[in-house]
């Protein structure tokens, strides 16, 4: 994985010093809270219901055991002994005190970490495929390109006061594990007919109030020019994105209002101006970064067979372990959705355990997924059983990846000032009906439930096979029910099924939907989403409201 050189470290150190100075000016009242707000947001510091919330950047979701252990240290020293992994592959702490913030930033910078550009109207943390570098189906590791984007977008002088936040995701496989079509820019690495590497560029996807699937603005931009091309997209957005209404300020609205043809014409015209300026990094820089993401030193004698005689282990392997490109190796996903847990939360002790296991069994590398789980990407099959036992002892071996209890959920009204309704208890109550019966969950099969506590959609309800949206209905919490969304390569937006329901009603509705699906599916392999797509909403609506 990528390690800082003296230049990276010097920039991070300067940024930390800058923010300390900005905090000092705020504490001395030399700047107003209104002026301070964008400065603290650019450093990941939000004011939440109860305290400051800090979002720490984990570039493209990849971190080392040492960095992971620092996240545990932060939770222990500055927070309430836990952290919350987010849908942007970052980690959030909910109980930060401003007066301790300088020390916290110093601690992070010791392990090449920071909180820059995890909020604010700037280019946010770049996200990517959690199986990058290990998946059998990828063209190349997408993370070197994510790192090139990270550097290009860090303290970008022209694009630090954008109309709104800007999110970029990069993948290198036809299987989309990073929801690129729901990003401001989604990049898919591919080869053209001549065999050259480049990106298919999607623009203008997003969720929130106005969910839109991204459109292709260019089918192929050579890898050597994708930074200047991104600059072109950002410049068109910075100049013409709406600034009169915060809810219409994302690039998706600009793309929609201009139409993709006119938007594309403007981007191409802008890029024609920018490309000759030499903004793209040279091949030597690509090579330097790609080398840092080279394969770990695989054990070429590692056995490819696996003893599955322990049924609990076999269940976990069947559900949470994926094929690796290297014979003798596997990709293991650590579920952060245990029984009665808060999705995405991990205690300091658990974070330490995972750091240790990554060092011992997984070439010292951990990934955060946008589904709020963790991945150990390079595990010898011979070590899987020992790994599973250690995870199980720490309540980290729930075998529920992509099943009904693997729910994405935003913090909701338990933490967030924006929320209209609680979301964590809804997810917990849905999961409670299934969590003691893994066989039943596996029979139901892949089912992605996503819960947001307000229309801003941090819980990705638009992309849920079943999406749930908390709303305020005359002072009461109510929940809308949506079906048919997907954030994967078959991206689609969930549609509202019928009238909103109360807390008990929404939990019961999910039960009814699943019961109907199990009678209606054409074969056990047909996913809930596919049954819905085949039959349409009417029978599902009848099942819930009939």
């Amino acid at each position: 994985m990528y390690r800082y050189d003296q230049y990276d470290q010097a920039i991070v150190d300067a940024r930390v010093a800058e923010f300390k100075e900005q905090v000092g000016r705020r504490l001395r009242n030399e700047i107003t809270e209104d002026q301070f707000k964008p400065l603290r947001l650019m450093n990941g510091l939000y004011l939440q219901l109860h305290a400051y919330m800090l979002r720490v950047a984990i570039p493209y979701g990849t971190l080392s055991g040492t960095q992971m252990r620092m996240l545990a240290h932060i939770a222990r020293k500055y927070d309430r002994d836990y952290g919350h992994f987010t849908t942007r592959q970052n980690i959030q702490y909910n109980w930060i005190k401003l007066e301790q913030f300088s020390d916290l930033l110093d601690d992070l910078s010791k392990v090449e970490m920071h909180a820059f550009q995890t909020s604010g109207n700037c280019i946010r943390n770049i996200s990517s495929d959690q199986f990058a570098g290990a998946a059998a189906d990828e063209l190349a590791d997408p993370r070197p390109y994510a790192e090139l984007l990270r550097q290009w977008s860090t303290l970008h002088p022209e694009f630090s006061f954008l109309p709104r936040k800007f999110k970029i995701a990069v993948i290198a496989s036809d299987t989309d594990r990073a929801a690129i079509q729901l990003h401001d820019i989604g990049l898919q690495l591919r080869k053209n007919d001549a065999g050259d590497l480049g990106f298919r560029v999607y623009v203008g996807g997003g969720m929130g109030r106005t969910p839109i699937i991204g459109k292709i603005v260019r089918d192929f931009i050579p890898v050597g020019q994708f930074l200047s091309y991104s600059e072109g997209i950002l410049r068109v957005y910075n100049r013409y994105g709406r600034r009169d209404n915060i809810y219409k300020a994302r690039i998706k609205i600009l793309v929609t209002e201009l139409g993709i043809e006119e938007f594309t014409r403007q981007v191409e015209a802008e890029w024609a101006q920018l490309e000759p300026l030499g903004l793209d990094a040279p091949q030597a820089e690509y090579d330097r970064i790609i080398a840092q993401f080279s394969d770990p030193e695989y054990d070429l004698t590692a056995t490819d067979t696996l003893d599955l005689s322990d049924p609990d282990f076999a269940m976990w392997v069947a559900q949470n372990v994926h094929a690796h490109k290297q014979p003798g190796y596997a990709i293991a996903t650590i579920s952060l959705k245990p029984k009665r847990g808060i999705p995405g939360d991990a205690s300091s002790a658990q974070i330490d355990v995972i750091a240790d296991l990554a060092e011992k069994y997984a070439h010292d590398e951990i990934r955060v997924t946008h589904s709020q789980n963790l991945v150990l990407a390079h595990v010898r099959k011979a070590d899987l059983y020992a790994l599973w036992q250690a995870l199980d002892a720490a309540d980290l071996a729930t075998p529920n990846l992509d099943l009904v209890t693997d729910i994405i959920v935003c913090p909701g009204m338990d933490y967030c000032t924006l929320a209209n309704a609680r979301s964590i208890p809804i997810a917990q109550n849905i999961a409670a009906k299934f969590e003691n019966n893994v066989a039943e969950q596996r029979d139901i099969g892949e089912l992605k439930i996503k819960v947001s506590g307000c229309i801003n959609g941090c819980g990705h309800h638009h992309a849920g096979h079943i999406g749930i949206l908390g709303v305020d209905k005359k002072g009461e919490e109510a929940y809308q029910l949506l079906l048919g969304g997907s954030g994967a390569e078959d991206a689609s937006l969930a549609k509202i099924l019928g009238p909103g329901l109360d807390e008990n009603g929404i939990v019961a509705a999910v039960d009814k939907l699943i019961a109907f699906y199990r009678t209606a599916r054409s074969a056990p392999e047909e996913r809930f989403l596919d049954t819905y797509r085949r039959l349409g909403p009417a029978p599902f609506k009848e099942a819930v409201y009939g």
């Binding site: 230049y7 303290l155 954008l162 600034r243 903004l279």
Partner: protein
């Protein structure tokens, strides 16, 4: 790309306070004193050497006229509105070597970014402390990406 004030960037720019107290300049030539025309008036054919570009206006409209312009003001009615950064960068990319002045809600924490995209004078609504400005401009030893100030990005330093 415009490199005309490389020396001011690479050397130690001392933000000399001009006789207009609020004006902060990073140029050696004398400040231009004459009426500053709104963009529409300028494009309408008036004989002006200074023009003002507001956030919704297209800086590219000035490109045919850069040779007769000494000063282009770029307005920042609200510091959060970042369109002016693109305006300045576009003007420098087109080869403009005259003064580009950021006017309005210009805060010290923006000056570093503004210098990078080609602004070389500042008329903030609220006066800035020159010491804090200097500390801000001296803070970053390296930059990751090219911009109008001609600073060498780290990828070029790495591969000299």
């Amino acid at each position: 790309m415009d490199n005309q004030d490389q020396s001011a960037v690479a050397g130690a720019p001392s933000p000399a306070l001009d006789d207009t107290p609020a004006l902060l300049r990073f140029r050696d030539d004398a400040p231009f004193e004459s009426p500053i025309a709104p963009l529409a008036d300028f494009l309408g054919g008036g004989n002006f050497a200074a023009v003002r570009v507001d956030p919704g206006e297209n800086a590219r409209d000035l490109i045919p006229h850069l040779g007769r312009l000494k000063l282009i003001e770029v307005a920042f009615p609200k510091f959060r509105d970042g369109r002016g950064y693109s305006s300045a960068n576009i003007l420098r990319e087109a080869g403009f070597t005259g003064e580009i002045r950021a006017v309005g809600d210009v805060l010290v924490d923006q000056i570093g970014f503004m210098r990078r995209v080609g602004f070389d004078s500042f008329a903030p609504d609220a006066p800035l402390d020159p010491g804090v400005v200097q500390a801000t401009l001296d803070r970053y030893p390296y930059v990751y990406m090219k911009s109008a100030d001609g600073k060498t990005p780290v990828w070029a330093l790495r591969h000299g």
